[in-house]
């Protein structure tokens, strides 16, 4: 599939006038600026979170259940809106997008969920192709890109199988293929290994690392410590609504804090 043209893809699709914005290519791909999100008044999920994700990074977002990992990702693909602050995607404030612009945003973001979110009575190819069909691409191009995406995730030749007949690991691979087939600027993974056994989980993590090596920014939400230790990446811990960062794994976070991290603040 080649190296994704992140800036060009976003500039072409995201700016309403459709012109490539060279300045956008040098900006961080994602900035959270003083983000507050509240579901219950007495317990905000996110409290003035400040975060910068550079293009091409692979970032873990971790924390205990209910810490706000999924909420943070939802804010990025505009399934939720912030109560305060800004979410800048390629320099553009997502919160100010009109309803008509949200679909355009989502075509530049690939999302993978814990429960795969496939349509079980659709074929594997159809589940992947839908991400391209909504853009109105010709059938010939769709077939070609779907085939390449399935090959990339190790499911070449499985296009005609019904998604509901696949194993959990295979279904997650299909979900990953759907997330990347459109060459998105960023891939958001919300506990993608939550329903998989440890071996498959590492397998899927490897898939995301390959995607990242090809140039796609990856934001990977997980509470699985095994994955955090297996891959020395930048980690953001959500703790009591605030974001604590480490630039090189859990050990880095501990040294950054100047003391071993409190057990109750680490993911289980």
């Amino acid at each position: 599939m080649g190296r994704p043209r992140i800036g060009a893809a976003f500039g072409r699709h995201f700016r309403p006038e459709g012109h490539f914005d060279r300045a956008a290519a040098h900006k961080p791909i994602l900035v959270l600026d003083g983000v507050v999100k509240v579901y219950r008044a007495d317990a905000p999920v996110l409290r003035r979170v400040d975060l910068v994700i550079e293009r091409g990074e692979f970032v873990f977002v971790t924390g205990p259940s209910g810490a706000g990992k999924s909420t943070l990702l939802k804010l990025v693909y505009r399934s939720e809106t912030v109560d305060e602050g800004r979410v800048l995607f390629c320099g553009r404030d997502i919160a100010r997008l009109t309803d008509e612009s949200i679909p355009v945003l989502r075509r530049n973001i690939g999302v993978v969920f814990q429960d795969f979110r496939l349509v079980p009575y659709w074929s594997v190819a159809h589940n992947v192709a839908v991400a391209l069909e909504v853009s109105g691409l010709p059938s010939r191009i769709i077939r070609s890109r779907v085939s390449m995406a399935l090959e990339r995730v190790g499911l070449a030749g499985r296009g005609e199988d019904l998604a509901g007949t696949l194993s959990g690991g295979e279904q997650q691979r299909v979900a990953v293929a759907r997330a990347i087939v459109n060459e998105p600027a960023i891939v958001l993974a919300d506990e993608p290994t939550g329903n998989l056994d440890p071996v498959l989980a590492l397998d899927v993590l490897g898939l995301f690392e390959e995607i990242n090596e090809a140039g796609t920014t990856v934001l990977f939400a997980t509470h699985d410590r095994t994955l955090l230790e297996a891959s020395p990446r930048r980690i953001i811990v959500l703790d009591d609504g605030r974001a604590i960062e480490a630039r090189s794994g859990l050990a880095g976070l501990s040294s950054q804090m100047g003391r071993p991290m409190a057990a109750e603040r680490l993911p289980a």
């Binding site: 679909p103 945003l105 989502r106 075509r107 979110r117 496939l118 839908v130 991400a131």
Partner: protein, 290 residues
């Protein structure tokens, strides 16, 4: 893939649901088609029987045969008149003898029975007002003692038929509302089994129109095919009943019931499509937070 292609794919993937839905809608529309058929024939019946059909001209005593014949010919030439018949006093007594059982009036003197001209009117060419004017003019003729237009009877008949027509219209309206509700609920059921589809489409960047449009097309197809089923079914029932009871119906009603015209059938199918789209739109609006 085209919009129609996506809608047909959705129908194929949920064929059983759509078949059941189409039959349900077809049943509702069958009732509607029946109500419309009643409405149409009630209208024709009203036109046929609501109009005045006869008039009796009572001849003055002493009118001679030539005068009576001149009056009869003049009336026969009128466009409103289809038939005229002279009934002599003895003919009238004979008719009374046939109607009466005890023969009291039939045994009375023939002088008690007036000579009349019985006028049969062309129903489509006459209305009550025109007949009243004609009756008034004939009444002024010297050979005429009185004219009976039976206006009260035709007014009553017309009133009854108009009431029947109104009832049929109300039934049609109620059935149409029910059919809309059936279509809406059917689409909602279809939607509820396809929420994952909708969720995925929105997640990958489909616009609202992209998500909604196939459901609207499916609704139109559901309503249109249901309407066709209804027309075929009602035609089957109508023509088989008419074939079996044609003679007695014509004798009683004075006319042969007619099926819906091609124009009404076309409108009905188009209306079915519109009903399907409306039901889908309502269900989408209420049940799909897209």
């Amino acid at each position: 893939m085209t919009l129609l292609g996506r809608a047909l794919r959705g129908i194929r993937e949920h064929a059983r649901t759509h078949i059941a839905s189409t039959l349900t809608v077809g049943l509702a529309l069958f009732c509607l088609a029946g109500a419309i058929l009643m409405l149409e024939n009630a209208g024709a019946l009203s036109a046929r029987w609501g109009a005045p059909v006869r008039m009796t001209v009572y001849l003055a005593d002493g009118a001679n045969a030539a005068q009576v014949e001149a009056l009869r010919s003049a009336l026969a030439d009128l466009p409103e008149v289809s038939e005229t018949r002279y009934v002599s006093p003895s003919d009238a007594r004979a008719q009374m003898f046939e109607l009466e059982r005890d023969g009291t009036l039939a045994n009375a003197s023939v002088d008690l029975f007036p000579a009349t001209l019985e006028i049969r009117l062309a129903p489509t060419a006459t209305n009550a007002d025109r007949l009243a004017v004609l009756g008034a003019r004939v009444r002024r003729l010297p050979t005429v003692s009185d004219v009976e237009t039976y206006r009260g009877l035709s007014d009553q008949m017309r009133g009854v038929l108009q009431t029947a027509r109104t009832l049929a219209f109300i039934i049609a309206l109620i059935v149409m509302l029910c059919a809309t509700a059936v279509v809406g609920n059917t689409v909602r059921l279809s939607l509820s089994s396809r929420m994952r589809e909708v969720e995925v489409l929105r997640m990958v960047g489909a616009t609202r129109q992209y998500v909604r449009a196939p459901f609207l097309v499916e609704g139109a197809l559901l309503g249109g095919v249901g309407a066709i089923f209804a027309i075929v079914a009602i035609a089957g029932v109508f023509f088989s009943v008419r074939a079996r009871f044609h003679a007695p119906m014509t004798a009683i009603l004075g006319m042969s019931p007619a099926f819906l015209s091609a124009w009404i059938v076309a409108l009905f199918v188009a209306g079915g499509c519109a009903l399907g789209v409306t039901g889908s739109a309502v269900a989408l609006r209420r049940w799909l937070a897209v």
